[in-house]
Amino acid sequence: MSKAKAIQQGDIRIRPRPPITRHMQRVSSPVVVARGEKTGHQHVLTAPAEVEVYERGGVFYAIVPEGSEATIQHDEHAPVTIAPGTWEIDKVREFDYVARQPRNVSD
């Protein structure tokens, strides 16, 4: 079985994750999964009712059942389609050469 791959839309990453929803808050679609601190542009997740979306500490999780799909749209990027599976959605990271450690990207 091939290793699942990630998706990047600008400064967010969408990664396959095990379906764990404990301590998470269910949210309804459409939902803003990331917002540019400087530009104000939003990454908006849109999904049909059968797709479960959760949030914990600013990180979003989408459980997409077989036969369904979700979409993330952004003003400056092409939309991405999320296939069936469980996905984690949050910011990509960059390296901080002063602190010598990773940090979340802000745009």
């Binding site: 791959k5 990630a6 600008g10 990509v92 960059e94």
Partner: protein, 141 residues
């Protein structure tokens, strides 16, 4: 009690600044009320410029970049590229190389740069690191 030790160039700089200021005062006294003050002001401004340049130079010698501009950069080179992504390695004097992922938004064409660890020297490695868990990236928009 801490003692500040001045280098030879620091001492020369202080003496030069003092002499220029002194010349300004002497000129003000000796050249009369018409030209003396103007000459004095000109010399004082010169001392200010000398002081600023000297300060910048000293900071640069101490490892504090006085100006952040490419002119101070020893080398900038692209070490890998793939599908509109590039790894740029920047080496500055006295520092270990820094690597940056340069990317072009495929939708808008805008260029964006993010720092990646220095050991990520290919676009694939940098994108995997950016993902956080070394996964390959299937879709990039």
């Amino acid at each position: 009690m801490s003692v500040v030790r001045l280098s030879e160039s620091d001492r020369m700089f202080i003496v030069a600044t003092f002499l220029v200021q002194l010349l300004g005062i002497v000129a003000t006294i000796t050249m009369g009320p018409e030209f003396g003050p103007l000459f004095g002001i000109a010399l004082t401004l010169m001392a200010l410029v000398v002081g600023t340049v000297g300060w910048c130079t000293r900071n640069e010698r101490n490892g504090i970049p006085a100006r952040q501009e490419p002119a101070r950069t020893e080398s900038v080179k692209a070490i890998d590229s793939w599908e509109g992504y590039e790894i740029i390695q920047i080496t500055q004097p006295g520092q270990s190389p820094h690597c940056y992922l340069r990317m072009e938004n495929p939708t808008t064409g805008e260029t964006h740069i993010e720092a990646v660890p220095p050991n990520r020297q290919t676009v694939r490695e940098a994108l995997q690191w950016r993902n956080g868990d070394n996964l390959d990236t299937e879709v990039l928009t």
